[in-house]
């Protein structure tokens, strides 16, 4: 019992000294654990599209060819694509936007996404992209090129299939899948943690420290961000934006839009390849050598949906490294993309 008493006293003393000099904070207060969104911080660049305030910026001559950068997720943000900003110095108008509920864009309840039902992909994502293009387009004849990565490539493909005449060029980097069954297979393959792994432990162990209700965005986004920082399977090791990084470091996951989108996908099994056979312009299809979940055979399977394409394998980088490694971007990706656009 003497030993037990010592343990108690140690715990008590430690508890008192641990807290007595600290200030309390709330985990769901905007800005504490995750950055504020554009509706909470008016200093952030934003546009109003389709009933939502979106975090967005554009660079380059306003009247020149638009390149719309479409980030992954759903629920990631455009920060890792900011190396594409250098295309503005080559005469293009480069547009970035965080999709509704993702990055620093405005949040919406999960029930709102689910209420869109079978037309969700149209109403949430295609209409939003159409609104972004309309916002930045200065004339009817201005050319539009879509540049999407991962989920963004799926979205760009689906949009192009729906509005083939509105798209001048299409660049897709590792769309996970276009048919829903392929999407599910790719997600499973790219996140197949081993039972004993540190990655799985990191994802599950935190649930006893923090729990968030269905629409507690700050908590859910924070936890999602901890899980999504790196992923060895797809070869993501962290970004290097060089001078392309903005003055603020503020990356934020959109946990609710991610979860809602996946549930909607399971319910309605969307086909992102619908109509893409009507797009006769050459598509630039890119995949990476370091993404173990995207071997040559998978690239060939997914690329088969595009009737006219050029396939390019990015050597030495992973899923996001095609865009977020400044050296690779400068030496390989940017020249490849410019060459593609000039070939159209």
């Amino acid at each position: 019992m003497k030993i037990s008493l010592r343990i108690y006293l140690t715990f008590i003393i430690f508890s008192v000294f641990s807290f007595s000099c600290s200030k309390a904070r709330y985990i769901d207060e905007p800005g504490n654990l995750v950055p504020k969104t554009v509706d909470q911080d008016a200093t952030l660049p934003s546009i109003s599209v389709n009933g939502a305030l979106l975090h967005s910026e554009a660079f380059g001559p306003e009247d020149s060819t638009l390149i719309i950068c479409i980030h992954g997720g759903p629920g990631a943000d455009y920060r890792y694509m900011l190396n594409c900003k250098t295309l503005a110095t080559k005469g293009y108008r480069v547009v970035f936007y965080d999709q509704r509920g993702a990055g620093l864009s405005q949040r919406f309840p999960k029930s709102w996404y689910k209420s869109q039902s079978s037309d969700a992909i149209n109403k949430i994502f295609y209409d939003e992209l159409r609104g972004v293009i309309a916002h930045y387009k200065t004339s009817a004849s201005q050319k539009v090129i879509l540049l999407g990565q991962s989920w963004g490539a799926m979205l760009a493909t689906g949009y192009t299939g729906k509005y083939p005449a509105d798209v001048y060029g299409l660049i897709v980097a590792e769309p996970g899948g276009l048919k829903w069954d392929d999407v599910v297979d790719y997600i499973s393959e790219s996140r197949s943690f081993k039972l004993w792994s540190e990655a799985l432990n990191d994802a599950t162990y935190i649930d006893q420290f923090m729990t968030g209700k269905e629409d507690q965005h700050e908590i859910l986004d924070y936890k999602a961000g901890l899980m999504g920082s790196t992923n060895a399977i797809v070869g993501d090791v962290g970004s290097d934006l060089g001078n392309n990084a903005p003055s603020y470091v503020a990356s934020r996951s959109g946990a609710v839009v991610n979860a809602a989108s996946y549930e909607l996908g399971q319910d309605f099994k969307p086909d992102f390849s619908a109509g893409i056979n009507n797009f006769s312009t050459k598509t630039l299809f890119i995949y990476s050598s370091n993404n173990k979940a995207y071997p040559d055979s998978w690239a060939a399977r997914i690329a088969a949906a595009y009737p006219n394409k050029e396939i390019f394998k990015a050597q030495g980088v992973g899923h996001s490294g095609m865009f977020d490694h400044v050296n690779f971007w400068t030496t390989t990706m940017e020249p490849k993309i410019i060459s593609y656009i000039q070939s159209l």
Partner: protein, 227 residues
């Protein structure tokens, strides 16, 4: 923001006083004796990850309300075994019994740590549970339900996080309570001489009664050695 309150400190101290035993160990109340007042136990299982634990408990033979006091240390699987852990100290007391049916309660104080590339978390929490079971000398089967509460939590983010994710993240102690999970399930054991083989399994639900943790169940296979 407010200065952390005296209430929090008192809460933690109160839990500290209750820390006579707290472990997710299954105890056969029909199989306790004054000759075997000590219990060593080891377990492996799943509880917010794949985990392994070691513990010790001591029997206080209060006449109608015998109680076990002690603690347990557990770690999850992973490449870095020492970066995450959980310490639980507390007591488990038999409250009522009728024939072979008995009801016991468990009160535990918890200290736990989480570390990854982005952040190191340290949390003080509590765990309250009740078990109703049918106990025989060599075996028992029971149902348990409990609530695991994360009361206060300390965040310390890495330089990598501040450079790549969010440079203005606020480190320090966070309150009020940052999380809580209900759990319920079955447990049982079979005894051979001084050794008990124990097993428990159940489901975990977040405190909003709607959401689930990423691993929404728990399970544990353990061995007790009485001496």
């Amino acid at each position: 923001m407010k200065v952390i309150t005296l209430k929090s400190i008192i809460t933690i101290i109160a839990f500290s006083f209750f820390q006579n035993k707290m472990y997710a160990q299954a105890v056969n109340w029909e199989n306790t004796s004054k000759q075997n007042k000590n219990l060593l136990h080891a377990n492996i299982g799943a509880e917010y990850g794949v985990t392994a634990g070691l513990g010790y408990h001591h029997l206080i033979p209060v006449k109608r309300f015998p109680l076990w006091i002690g603690g347990e240390f557990s770690i999850p699987a992973g490449n870095e075994l020492a970066d995450d852990f959980k310490v639980r100290l507390g007591t488990q007391i038999r409250i009522a019994g009728l024939n072979h049916f008995q009801f016991s309660a468990r009160v535990q104080g918890i200290a736990r740590r989480y570390h990854n590339q982005s952040v190191t978390l340290f949390n003080f929490g509590s765990d309250f549970a009740g078990t109703l079971g049918y106990y025989r000398k060599h075996w028992f089967l029971g149902a348990e339900a409990g609530f695991d509460k994360a009361i206060v939590i300390h965040f310390k983010h890495s330089d990598w996080y501040k450079k790549n994710i969010y440079d203005n993240v606020q480190d320090g102690w966070y309150e009020p309570a940052t999380g809580g999970n209900f759990y319920y399930g079955l447990q049982g054991s079979y005894s051979i001489k001084k050794v008990d083989i124990t097993i428990k399994a159940g489901k975990i639900l977040q405190q909003d009664f709607k959401s689930q943790p990423l691993l929404p169940f728990y399970g544990q296979l353990g061995i007790n050695f009485r001496f």
